[in-house]
Amino acid sequence: MHINYELFLALVTLAIASLVSTLVLLHKLSRNKVKLQDISDALDDIAQGNISRKLLAKPGDPFAFLCYRINEITDSFRTQSTEFKRTEEANKQLMTSLSHDVRTPLTTLIGYLDAIQKGMVKGREREEYTETARLRAHDLKDYVDLLFEWFKLNSNDQIYTLQQVELAELTRNMLKDWIPLFEVHALDFHIDIPDERIEVELDSDAYLRILNNLLQNVLSHSQATQVSILLHKDEQSAVLTICDNGVGIDARDLPRIFERLYKSDKARSGKGSGLGLAIVQQLLTGIGGRITAASTPHEQTVFTVYFPIQ
């Protein structure tokens, strides 16, 4: 009797154990099926354009790796999409600003020319009007040139040819052309370029444009009476510093001066609008350099440009 009872008990336990295991397995299978269905539903949603849809999985889930992978993919799509929208928005802004920046001087220009044509001015005044109209036309052309340059840079069509250059000599040569301009604008200048050689790998065209844009910025916007151009070398970079004693830039505006369209209030008039500095920024990104700006309003502004020494 006793032995049978034990055997019976053992068999019953075994039976229950198998039953329970089978039920658990079946349950797991059905859970997997449901989970796959959920994934499929979410994928449908994503396919219809809802790229924010995420699949959630617990660490022990059978398809966790799948869910995480899909999320990674939709994440990168979402980032791209945001970037795209941002660019679209910025371009829209640019277009609007552009038409304004071209229309205004053009309208003024036409105004002068119309006045001349209608015979509304005579003699000395007429000559002055003609001269103003001519200057305005040149301004417009310079502006459009800058714009084209910026667009080219922005669309990544720009190819930089990096060559080994000796920066000190190059800079001295470039500045030779600027000295007469400084004198014409009654700008005291101080140039400090070391005698030693500074070997850098960069695109000399780009360097020229950067230097020119920065100096043009001083000339047009700073209303300064003094400018200093310094070149020196530290451990990692060649450093070009341009410093002026002009109106300066507000702390509020400082972080944004390299943005395409940004003009601080004080710089509303003058050439180049906000593009000059934005172009500098673009060029530097292209050749691996960077720029910082510091300013004390009404006292001084310092632009520091770093070119990496390869």
């Binding site: 995420k54 959630l56 617990k58 999320n71 979402r78 980032t79 945001t82």
Partner: protein, 307 residues
């Protein structure tokens, strides 16, 4: 509109004798920040609780992501992150332990979701500090971490800047803005602080005593209220009559016997002034002024402003 993430129809909640929320028709559009503005006790939290299934509505329907929430909770709530009232966590556990429990129950969208969420709100990962030692500001941040951990498409945040210092407030504000702009999330926030809502929200719903008094985009509200002409005259009543009869407008508001505000700014102020004077009404002041959103709020709720 197909891009309504949250839509309620005649949503009502009655507690005993009191109607906490009355016939609310809420419309929260996809990808936008909706600010639910109202004084304390206006019914903001109750509404949000009903949306999240924490409280059963007495009447009305709620649809989120295009489906009625009844019966679809398992599909809908994983796509929502929320922070309701003060955040609740287990005091005997650390911040990470608390989040890990919730992560285990909810599932996560990527491997290190808890770590990432804590990083985003600026709290340490796997440190030893127990929730009992957390300040209100830290708890609030942990609550936000919990709300965003699973990268939900919809966020429902009840007074998210509650208990934060000014820097924290600015940080959370920037953060919420980024979530909306960079990640396209739809966000429903409630607040009794008008200035905060005005800085954040794209759409605003004004709720008072359980009733949704107005629902409109911030842009439109500001436009509607940006300009009015304030007249101080010898007789507001007479002036009103002239505005109606001669200028065919009724978009004005009489403050008292001598003061009236004209919101229809298409009409030439000079012409109006001339007509007033011609009709024997003295005009001692006529100037264009901006109504602040706060004044508007006061007017709409007929009360003393924000508490």
């Amino acid at each position: 509109m197909n891009d309504l993430i949250i839509q309620t129809k005649q949503l009502t909640k009655i507690y005993g004798e009191q109607k906490s929320v009355s016939n609310l028709n809420l419309h929260v559009r996809k990808g936008r920040i909706y600010g639910l503005l109202g004084r304390n006790g206006a019914g903001k939290t109750t509404t949000m609780k009903m949306l999240l299934g924490l409280t059963k509505p007495t009447e009305g329907e709620i649809s989120i992501f295009g489906s009625d929430i009844q019966g679809a909770e398992g599909k809908i709530y994983p796509r929502i992150g929320n922070l309701i009232e003060t955040p609740g966590f287990y005091p005997n556990l650390t911040g990470s332990e608390n989040l890990k429990i919730l992560a285990r129950l909810r599932g996560v969208p990527h491997q290190n979701a808890v770590k990432r969420a804590l990083e985003v709100v600026g709290l340490p990962y796997n440190d030893k500090k127990l929730l009992a030692q957390y300040s209100l500001g830290m708890k609030q941040r942990l609550g936000i971490a919990n709300a965003i951990m699973h990268d939900p498409e919809l966020l429902i945040l009840d007074e998210p800047i509650n208990g934060l210092d000014p820097i924290g407030i600015a940080e959370v504000r920037e953060f919420i803005k980024r979530l909306s702009v960079e990640q396209g999330k739809t966000i429903l926030i409630s607040s009794h602080i008008l200035s905060e809502i005005a800085l954040l929200a794209d759409d605003i719903g004004i709720i008072d005593h359980g009733v949704l008094l107005e629902e409109s985009s911030l842009e439109m509200l500001e436009k509607k209220n940006s300009r009015y002409v304030h007249f101080i005259v010898s007789s507001a009543g007479q002036a009103a009559r002239i505005l109606e009869l001669d200028f065919h407008t009724s978009h004005f508001h009489i403050d008292d016997d001598y003061s009236l505000r004209l919101h229809d700014t298409n009409i030439d102020v000079a012409a109006i002034t001339r007509k007033f004077i011609e009709s024997g009404i003295d005009v001692s002041e006529a100037h264009t002024q901006n109504d602040t959103l706060e004044d508007y709020f006061k007017r709409v709720t007929g009360g003393e402003g924000i508490a």
